[in-house]
């Protein structure tokens, strides 16, 4: 009975050992798998690091190529999430391995306790079975070896746990880095947009500047042309200036010559002025002498009138009372004497008139010409009636005249017109006046700037040959014998003198038997 029990115990021990060996084998397989898994993880981690480095480079690349980078960043986020998910899975596996290791450690403790029990049992069995003892000793050694191996595996599991934590930490860091890169990318995208807007604005600004540039270039071209023109003008002016300098020298020389000449002229002028003064003194003396002569003519003429008139009157009384006592020859001689006395009377009258217009005061007044002409017509009334003459006056105005002289002038001209009327033709005299400017007249003696009163006396009498038109105004000039037309030849001289006293001029125009026209021009003011 005891032996049988002992055999049963030995079987039991044998099977227990086998079970332990099988468990050990399982553990080894499991350990090898873990090692492979860890290597795989380490490899994957390395790959991820490389990938991250590439991402940094890629991100830098993306900073310049915005759209691509954003897509890549999104892909990175997805990849990161995948990695995070894989990491979680690995952590769970690691936790499971830790629990399995703790179970193995507990089983190892239990086995050590059993081994100790088996040592006691083996010692007891030493007596009974050497084989069993040897085998027990080997098993102990094997167990020791296994325990050692288990310890090693535990250490390795702990190291893996630490390595996994490190990887998890690195993963977190990379996620943070990826998030930062996303933000950096968005910022870059925003800056890019801003820069594009700025670029568009700059394009517009550039176009504007380009337009302005073109305009300035055109202006510059124009200015260049203008500058050339100015430069040309400048050259011309310099040439001109040079010419002027020469001309100035010439003028300066001429000036000097002229000054010398002027000095000579000043001396000559002084001499002339002296001579002029002498002449003026002489002229003044002559004027006085002339006035004295005219005054003498006037006084003598005036005083001669009275005795002459008495001679004439006594002659007529004698002729009347003694008519019967005179012979025919005596009567004829008496008539000749009376004619001579008559001419003497006329001569005295005319000389008086001539001297009067030279000696009396020249008093100008504004007078209506019609008044003067009416007075003259009244004076000549008898002759006008005798000749059945008509005197037409048209457009007569006023004139600035010496009244008594102008009356004398009109008297002489009208009485001449009546005297030299055409026999058998009714005498017609036309008198008119107008105001004209000298420039309208073109008469040598008149100023073209002054205004003149132009008086015309036109008759239809016998007229005279044109070449006498100036001579008739000279004193004592007559065109007819005194037997045909009486007169002294002083009348028109008086007319001319009066016109000259009025600072005017008189022009006679005629043709034989075609009437005569006298045009008088005196200043209107």
């Amino acid at each position: 009975m005891v032996i049988e029990n002992e055999k049963k115990n030995s079987d039991k021990k044998f099977f227990a050992n086998k079970e332990l060996v099988a468990q050990d084998e399982e553990k080894e397989k499991r350990s090898a798998e873990l090692t492979i898994a860890n290597k795989e993880l380490a490899f994957q981690n390395d790959e991820k690091e490389k990938r991250a480095a590439e991402l940094v480079i890629a991100n830098k690349e993306l900073a310049f190529q915005n759209d691509e980078k954003e897509k890549r960043a999104e892909e990175l986020i997805i990849a990161n999430k995948e990695l995070a998910f894989q990491n979680d899975e690995k952590e769970k596996r690691a936790a499971e391995l830790t629990i399995a290791n703790k179970e193995l450690a507990f089983q190892n403790d239990e086995k050590e306790k059993r081994a100790a029990e088996l040592v006691i049992a083996n010692k007891e069995l030493a007596f009974q079975n050497d084989e069993k003892e040897k085998r027990a000793e080997e098993l102990i050694i094997a167990n020791k070896e296994l325990a050692f191996q288990n310890d090693e595996k535990e250490k390795r599991a702990a190291e893996l746990t630490i390595a996994n934590k490190e990887l998890a930490f690195q993963n977190d860091e990379k996620e943070k880095r990826a998030a930062e890169l996303v933000i950096a990318n968005k910022e870059l995208a925003f800056q890019n947009d801003e820069k594009e807007k700025r670029a568009e604005e700059l394009i517009i600004a550039n176009k504007e500047l380009a337009f302005q540039n073109d305009e300035k270039e055109k202006r510059a071209a124009e200015l260049t042309i203008a500058n050339k023109e100015l430069a040309f003008q400048n050259d011309e002016k310099e040439k001109r200036a040079a010419e002027l300098v020469i001309a100035n020298k010439e003028l300066a020389f001429q000036n000097d010559e002229k000054e010398k000449r002027a000095e000579e002229l000043i001396i000559a002028n002084k001499e002339l002025a002296f001579q002029n003064d002498e002449k003026e003194k002489r002229a003044a003396e002559l004027v006085i002498a002339n006035k004295e002569l005219l005054a003498f003519t006037y006084v003598s003429g005036h005083d001669l009138q009275e005795p002459l008139r008495k001679i004439q009157t006594f002659a007529t009384i004698l002729l009347e009372s003694e008519n019967e006592n005179l012979s025919e020859d005596g009567k004829y001689n008496f008539q000749r004497m009376q004619l001579a006395a008559g001419r003497m009377q006329q001569l005295i009258d005319d000389l008086l008139a001539f001297s009067r217009i030279s000696t009396t005061e020249l008093k100008f007044e504004k007078i209506e010409l019609s008044v003067i002409i009416e007075e003259v017509k009244a004076e000549l009334r008898d002759t006008i009636q005798e000749k059945l003459a008509t005197i037409e006056t048209t457009g007569l105005g006023s004139a600035n005249i010496i009244a008594f002289q102008f009356r004398q002038l009109m008297y002489n001209l009208i009485s001449n017109a009546l005297k030299f009327s055409n026999p058998g033709v009714q005498s017609n005299i036309i008198i008119r006046s107008r105001i004209v400017t000298g420039s309208q007249l073109n008469i040598e003696k008149l100023s073209s700037e002054k205004t003149y009163c132009h008086i015309t006396i036109k008759d239809n009498g016998i007229g005279f040959e044109p070449h006498f038109s100036e001579r008739i105004f000279e004193v004592f000039q007559k065109l007819h014998g005194k037997e045909v037309y009486g007169g002294t030849g002083i009348g028109l001289a008086i007319v001319k003198k009066i016109v000259e006293n009025h600072n005017g001029t008189i022009i006679a125009t005629s043709e034989l038997s075609k009437g005569a026209t006298f045009d008088i021009y005196i200043p209107a003011n």
Partner: protein
């Protein structure tokens, strides 16, 4: 028809002219009474004497000694008693200014002494006739100078 005798006063210093005047009046058919003075002072004394009857007409020469015809005419025309007296001025010469001045001073007529005696008589008759007809208002200017036909 018997005309009323005209009292004529002549103021002229020239003896010959006085003879001509007297002779002319003698030849006229008009009854006249002639008084002659020979200078201006005599004339004015005569006219101013209240005892003397005023003449019907005065023939006045211009050139007289002591007081000339112009002065006498002015005094007469400025005197209320005398200014209605018709004054006919006589002169050898004819000057328009003188004539105008006489007209303005109120003379009745101007006569230039003619050199023919017939004309002298004629013009005296003409002036006396005008006055005898009572025409003693001053004529218009153009009729102021009397002339023989």
């Amino acid at each position: 028809m018997l005309l009323k005798e005209l009292n004529i006063l002549l103021a002229d210093d020239d003896t010959d002219d006085c003879i001509f005047f007297k002779k002319a009046l003698e030849d006229l058919i008009i009854p006249t009474n002639l008084v002659a003075v020979h200078d201006g002072e005599q004339l004015m004394d005569l006219l101013m004497n209240a005892n003397n009857e005023l003449p019907h007409i005065l023939f006045l020469d211009i050139n007289m000694p002591r007081k000339n015809g112009f002065e006498c005419l002015s005094e007469i025309k400025l005197n209320d008693k005398l200014n209605h007296l018709p004054v006919i001025v006589f002169s050898t010469s004819f000057e328009q200014e003188v004539v105008n001045s006489l007209y303005n001073n109120g003379a009745q007529y101007f006569i230039r002494k003619p050199s023919e005696f017939l004309k002298f008589k004629e013009i005296i008759l003409q002036s006396l006739t005008l006055v005898a007809l009572g025409d003693i208002t001053q004529p218009i200017r153009e009729n102021f100078v009397l002339k023989a036909q």
